[in-house]
């Protein structure tokens, strides 16, 4: 049997990034929504909905990074220096919000306030930084002789800022929908409002990012059948097969709006995930098979086959286990969390 190891690994990394974005997305979203909570008690409950699972969620980021390092060392060694400062911001944000889970509950009065702010600020910082990373990535990286050869602020453009805003809103949407599922009463009502507002903002920003991407990147536009070089030309044969992707996003947003009005507690979360899926696929269409957009494709960047093979053996054996026990953990902590349930006198 002849496996296309490089392709499999590109797929695996793509999936683990997607899993990361949705899973950590909702718990980063909780931090983003933190400032809007009405009381410390509400914030406690919000944090409690994610306290047992956030660490596992974040591990997908380590897998994404570690997997990229191991399977596509060339891509990793080009992207990381290119995105040096946003990665730094992301890590700083992750540190502050990560320790805040424990610290916030240990601290007294002033310290507690501080770590509440750090949790929220760290989550927002992480989300913004990830948006800048994503934007910088889509926008393309200068590569010479297999090394990053651009400037230190290449990632900072109006476009990347727009993407960052979109990601923050997206995470807030995921977080809000997660809360709708996990909370009751007043907090549930707040979560519903946050979800609907975030969904509105996401709708606007998603549209803006899509248009901006088409305008800025003729290559991406061409993939979608647009030719904006001079005037406007549209090739329907290219666009039509891709239409299900934006459609999926619209369906997702529709689910969020309609089902939250109907009082569903779970469907909005499903809708939010569909929105992310659609955004992710939409971007992927723009730059596949590049793993460093427009400079290196995944085959050029891949590790030797024996490395990929060795890792595939382990992954095939272990990934199902990971998925199984992750699912088990979510199952253990299923159900609503309310203020009372948090306190065990």
């Amino acid at each position: 049997m002849n496996l296309d190891l490089q392709l499999i690994w590109a797929g695996l990394i793509a999936v683990s990034v997607l899993l990361y974005v949705t899973l950590d997305g909702f718990d980063l979203g909780i931090g983003i929504l933190f400032p809007f909570a009405k009381s410390p008690g509400e914030r406690d409950v919000m944090m409690n909905t994610i306290a047992p699972v956030w660490d596992g969620n974040e591990t997908w980021l380590v897998l994404g990074g570690g997997g990229l390092l191991a399977a596509f060392p060339l891509a990793y060694s080009v992207l990381m220096p290119a995105l040096y400062l946003p990665i730094l911001l992301m890590l700083a944000g992750l540190i502050l919000r990560g320790v805040a889970f424990e610290f916030r509950f240990r601290a007294r009065n002033r310290g507690r306030k501080f770590w509440t702010q750090m949790f929220s600020g760290g989550s927002i910082l992480t989300a913004v930084a990830q948006g800048l990373v994503l934007g910088g990535f889509i926008q393309g990286v200068t590569v010479r002789d297999d090394r990053f050869a651009g400037g230190q602020f290449d990632w900072l453009t109006p476009y990347t800022l727009l993407v960052a805003a979109g990601l923050v809103a997206g995470y807030a949407l995921l977080g809000g929908a997660w809360l709708m599922m996990k909370t009751k009463d007043n907090l549930h009502g707040d979560a519903k409002r946050w979800t609907r507002i975030s969904a509105l903002i996401v709708t606007g920003l998603l549209a803006a990012v899509s248009v901006a991407t088409l305008l800025i990147h003729p290559r991406v536009a061409a993939r979608w059948g647009f030719d904006l070089h001079d005037g406007f030309a549209l090739e329907l044969a290219k666009l039509l097969p891709l239409l299900p992707i934006p459609l999926l996003g619209l369906i997702g947003l529709g689910i969020v709006f309609v089902m939250s009005r109907k009082g569903s507690h779970r469907w909005p979360f499903v809708g939010a995930i569909l929105v992310f899926l659609s955004g992710y696929l939409g971007l992927a269409v723009g730059f596949a098979p590049y793993i460093v957009p427009y400079a290196l494709n995944f085959r050029q960047a891949a590790a030797p086959d024996n490395a990929l093979g060795l890792m595939l053996v382990g992954t095939a054996a272990i990934l199902p286990l990971i998925l199984a026990y992750t699912a088990w953990v979510y199952w253990v902590f299923r159900g609503k969390i309310d203020e009372e349930a948090g306190y065990h006198h």
Binding site: V62, L63, Q152, A307
Partner: protein, 481 residues
């Protein structure tokens, strides 16, 4: 390449990894200790084990959190600051790091949630299993990361392709490289010792405090149990560490002669080396100042015949010598503390034997003083190992200066300052919380009300079982409680 960026990147890596290593060094042992405590509790149904478990698990949660976040930083720093290293050797060590994530990180992270918050959600057996899995995870993690680190010390099983990139020829050789077995053993022992010293120190401190307050304790209080457990562990493991450490030294001598020369302060290549107890190695003068030495025993210590020639630093061009100062002193600090640990274990064992351990304030004070010794020895040992490897990042094949990213000094300076700031805040706060918990002590933590009157949700304790919870192991049928 930018020389300042190189220097700053090295500083930054040293800083972030030194910060990180403190936490695994503690949590590897603590996770195992918690598994033992919970096991003993399930088995004996003794309340004291539960109290101890609930106490140490809170300290574990804090330490583990700091370990996780500082570890994520490292996994990205390979790319941001050492991208050439990954570009060239990623095909060889990448899989080892990937296996660490797959086999260890997910396991730890997922079951940690159950361990901290699952008390009321899963039964006692599943909860115990979760604790055990977290402990197993931390050890598996050490396995892979030390394998990768050892390969950088004693590389084998690879070839260098025409374009300069490394490819593995045999992963078994890569993983089980010559310095890996001793390094893994040495590090795991170091982790267990570190935990033992902290547990012993905290317990001794509590006993001293009780004495000072005139509290009369009879029988096996929590702190007495944990003190004896810790001292017993140290008594066994500290001498073992000397043996394993010695074996590590022999491996280094064989595969990394320039490191051994720096550790021992040997400038001259010769037979019948002396043993330098003290000295100030000076790279410019290429000699030691203020040497205090025992002639004629150096070869013996290295485990080679007296007439065998041992390389001194003069065997290498100056730019290929490791900077000797840190390896030389780091080694002496580590070994000195190791000997003190042996002393602590032996003394404590004798006192336990004579049933006098709780009545010896001198010993208890010594145990308190030795509380942080493991951390210091770990940092010292780590620096010996890493600085002793210089100027190589992969010993003998890839120089550190050729491994750095194409980034500029100002960027690295920015990130270094940011890390120092963030870590200072996090470390200070974490240390305060941990010390505060230690001061509260095991019993107080379980019975006394929290300062806010109510336990916050999300704390391990908040989710901890009360005595009234049905089905808890401390409520066996027929138990009148």
């Amino acid at each position: 390449m930018d020389l300042d960026a190189l220097l700053l990147s090295r500083l930054q890596f040293a800083f972030t990894i030194a910060f990180h290593i403190l936490f695994p060094a503690f949590t590897i042992g603590l996770a195992a200790y918690l598994a033992v405590l919970e096991g003993l509790w399930l088995w004996t149904k003794r309340e004291a084990f539960k109290v101890l478990y609930l106490f140490w698990v809170k300290i574990f949660a804090l330490s583990f959190g700091m370990g996780v976040v500082s570890g994520v930083v490292l996994s990205y720093q390979f790319g941001t600051n050492w991208s050439e290293f990954i570009r060239l050797t990623g095909g060889v060590i990448g899989p080892l790091l990937a296996y660490e994530v797959l086999t260890a990180f997910f396991l730890e992270a997922s079951f940690l949630g159950v361990m901290l918050f699952g008390w009321k959600k899963v039964g006692p057996k599943l909860h115990f299993a979760s604790t055990v899995l977290v402990a197993v995870g931390t050890t598996i993690s050490a396995f892979w990361i030390l394998s990768a680190n050892s390969w950088m010390q004693t590389p084998q099983g690879f070839q260098i392709m025409a374009d300069g990139r490394f490819e593995a020829t045999d992963y078994m050789q890569v993983i089980f490289n010559p310095s890996f077995p001793t390094r893994l053993a040495h590090m795991l022992l170091a982790a267990f010792l570190t935990t033992g010293l902290v547990v012993g120190g905290v317990s001794a401190w509590r006993l001293l405090k009780d004495r000072a307050a005139g509290v009369k304790t009879e029988g096996w209080s929590e702190s007495r149990i944990s003190l004896v457990m810790a001292v017993g562990l140290i008594a066994v493991l500290a001498p073992l560490q000397l043996v394993v450490g010695h074996a590590s030294g022999e491996v280094a001598h064989k595969y990394q002669p320039s490191k051994t020369a720096a550790i021992e302060g040997y400038w001259e290549t010769r037979a019948d080396q002396p043993l330098h107890l003290f000295g100030i190695p000076d790279r410019n003068a290429q000699k030691n100042h203020f040497e205090v030495s025992i002639p004629g025993v150096g070869n013996l210590i290295q485990g080679v015949p007296k007439d065998e020639v041992i390389k001194g630093l003069d065997s290498w061009a100056r730019e290929d010598q490791p900077p000797p100062f840190i390896p030389f002193f780091g080694f002496r600090i580590m070994v000195g503390l190791g000997l003190l640990m042996i002393g602590l274990g032996a003394w404590g064992a004798v006192l336990i034997w004579r049933k006098k351990i709780f009545d010896s304030p001198l010993f208890l004070r010594f145990a308190v003083l030795m509380g942080p010794a493991g951390f210091i020895a770990v940092l010292a040992g780590w620096m010996v190992t890493e600085v002793g490897r210089q100027p190589w990042v992969v010993y003998g094949v890839l120089k550190t200066r050729d491994a750095v990213s194409p980034v500029i000094a100002s960027q690295v300076a920015t990130s270094l300052i940011a890390y120092v700031l963030v870590y200072s805040v996090v470390f200070t706060a974490g240390a305060i919380f941990i010390l505060r918990l230690m001061a509260e002590g095991p019993v107080a933590a379980v019975t006394a009300p929290s300062p806010r009157g109510q336990r916050s949700p999300g704390t391990p304790l908040a989710k901890a079982p009360e005595d009234t919870t049905p089905g808890r192991p401390d409520r066996v049928p027929g138990d009148p409680k």
